[in-house]
């Protein structure tokens, strides 16, 4: 390219194409080409999030949530007087995710990494950042294992863990006396297995019976055989431990098969519940829903809709919180050194304009780095009560209720196997 410029100032087809592509890329990617000429290097934050595969839809929301956080921070002058820059990569699968993490750390020199959705990828990248001593905030992976047996000093979680989610839905199921004869359908990978374990504990602790259990490969498109098995086993409740596009397919086909059995799940991503449409039914635990009626939350949802033209899902929320948590750590530590950031976040309560939007103080536990927070049980809303196509859920309860300790739904210290490594 340099040579070409020397020999000719004429606009050749190749340079034209290169310029046009760069121009188009700049338009799509305003953050990749910051308009401001900076006196100082920006603070780079890496984001790993899935854009492909059965979790692909979540990534787009996660990126928008994180981008909005970065824009908010830069509008008020950045952090420590420096602009924030977000570099997003596709986490794809555990192998690729680790490669991308290395690229973010070594080539882009990010001060921290946030994101991750697949528990399998999160476990792999967690080991990697611990080796590299770079702060990571898990904003989307649910396995308890990430906070317990394989917890790390440099890894924090703003995403809830399976125990928090299952305690929330369990709380509702116990109250409604729905703990009796259950059928489990589980995604056959790290997240599903971990969720199945936690849900089984809930069932046995409340003297329920398991009448059947199936593992389905991720990316399953036809669930009819599993549904036939459920029908034959005659449970009182079907409890699914599925993720991503599998949730959409399963819930659609469940309704299409004419199933009327009660259904509940150990988690739901609204990005995958929206496309189910009017056939959606059941009760699910969720970390955040855009109709959550706290002033801060409603205001943020409105800002998001204005910026991106659609309401945020739970992953947009997760990555939004994670980026702000990193910024708060940098401000508190007055440094971008990961070891100092880790110390700043241990026991840190989210503050100021970004307190987690839930109307109660949220704190990172010092000993396992889990953000303590309430969960919400949502019920599928009848189509006749929808205001628009996004209006598929209503919040039926906040768990634990206000006034009760957030510790009650988290992994108890006595049961955790978490041993954090020393800092250096």
């Amino acid at each position: 390219m340099a040579q070409r410029r020397d020999v000719s100032t004429r606009l050749t087809r190749r340079t034209f194409l290169a310029l046009a592509t760069a121009g188009a890329a700049a338009e799509i990617h305003p953050l990749a080409f910051p308009a401001v000429v900076r006196a100082q290097e920006p603070i780079r934050i890496g984001q790993l999030i899935p854009f492909t595969g059965f979790l692909g839809a979540i990534g787009e929301y996660g990126k928008q949530g994180a981008t909005l956080a970065v824009e908010e921070l830069n509008e008020r002058g950045g952090v420590l007087g420096r602009k924030i820059e977000l570099i997003t990569e596709d986490e794809a699968n555990p192998g690729v995710a680790v490669q991308k993490a290395r690229k973010l750390i070594e080539k882009d020199r990010v001060v921290a990494i946030e994101g991750l959705v697949s528990s399998a990828s999160c476990l792999a990248v967690g080991d990697e950042v611990q080796r590299a001593k770079i702060l990571m905030i898990n904003a989307g992976a649910n396995s308890d294992e990430i906070r317990s047996k394989r917890c790390h000093r440099y890894v924090f979680a703003t995403e809830g863990c399976n125990t928090q989610y299952v305690s929330a839905i369990g709380n509702w199921l116990i109250r409604e006396r729905k703990i009796s004869r259950w059928y489990f359908l589980t995604s056959d990978y790290a997240f599903g297995h971990d969720l199945l374990r936690v849900a089984r504990n809930l069932l046995t602790a409340n003297k329920g019976t398991e009448v059947g259990s199936d593992l389905a490969p991720t990316g399953t498109t036809d669930f009819s055989q599993y549904i036939t098995k459920m029908k034959a086993a005659k449970p009182d409740l079907v409890f699914h431990n599925l993720a991503g596009a599998d949730v959409t397919n399963f819930l659609k086909q469940y309704a299409e098969a004419g199933m009327t059995l009660e259904v509940a799940g150990g988690v739901i991503d609204s990005a995958y519940a929206w496309p189910v449409g009017e056939s959606l039914r059941g009760h699910f635990p969720i970390i955040w829903w855009h109709e959550l009626a706290t002033p801060a939350s409603l205001a943020w949802a409105a800002r998001y809709i204005k910026r991106w033209g659609r309401p945020p899902d739970n992953q947009a929320y997760g990555d939004y919180v994670a980026v702000h948590a990193i910024a708060q750590a940098i401000e508190k530590a007055k440094s971008t050194d990961s070891a100092k950031l880790v110390q700043a976040l241990e026991g840190h309560t989210l503050t100021g304009t970004m307190d987690g939007l839930k109307g109660r103080p949220l704190t990172f536990r010092a000993w396992d780095h889990q953000l303590l927070q309430p969960m919400y049980v949502v019920a599928a809303r009848d189509k006749s009560k929808w205001r628009d196509k996004w209006d598929i859920f209503e919040i039926v309860s906040e768990v634990p209720p206000r006034g009760e300790s957030l510790e009650t739904i988290a992994i108890p210290k006595a049961e955790s196997q978490c041993q954090l490594e020393p800092l250096a």
Binding site: G56, G59, K252
Partner: protein
Amino acid sequence: MTPAVFAEFVLNGLVLGALYVLMALGLSIIFGMIGIINFAHGALFTLGAYAAFQVKDALGFPATLVVSPLLVGVLGMLIEATLLRRLYLQDPLQGLLLTFGLTMVLEQGIRMVWGRSPKPFDVPPAFAGALSLGPLTYSKYRGFILLAVVVLIVALTLFLQKTPVGTIVRAGSRDPMMVRLLGVSLRPVLTFVFGLGTAFAAIAGVLSAPLAGVQPAMGVNVGTAAFVVVTIGGLGSFWGAVISGLLVGQVVSLSIYFQPRAAEASMYILMAVILLLRPRGLMGERWEKFE
């Protein structure tokens, strides 16, 4: 397992198999005529579903069954006429690489046009709900899929056996040189066959859309299964693809009942066994031009 449950499993397997058959027939006629393994088949299946999503509100579901395969078929013909055609005299690997690349371009294109989030696609109201057949209740829409696939297989058979173009396709598959010597130009036929094959992938996509979510990666598993089906049935064999598609549907379906953990592997195990016993596949014949 009660008879009703068993019957439902067989029906589920039949529907799964019927969709495999549609995919495999498209692949098989393309391979038979052009000698290229179309790696982009899964992506064209996805494109069929998205095309249907795009027009269904304006035209209604029944029209999508015609419009979507037509659009995707035309795209297929353009691909043949502009890209694939240049590679016929080259190493067959080139065609494989080209269609493999096309898969990525198409999938990424879909992400750019329609976004990454799955699109809602409800079962058409006329087919919502279940049919009651004695002790058995079965989804109306799945019944419709079976019917539609039977009609399509019959139509394709009639086309290949009874029409002049069908005769050229059959003859051209076996001995292109002789067809040319008889004064028939194969060029437009090759273009047409590629379009027809991709149209079949698109119809499978439209039929799947109300069941599986419409999302960019929806064709990956189905595409892979279609290769397995064609390999088991015998490359280029029409009835081989039909029988093998139905067989694979049953094997996958029943293994979910008896050995759920082996369900994903079952079709590959079947393929390995069949290839050991009959290396050309179930109905594969010795074709001069591929030996």
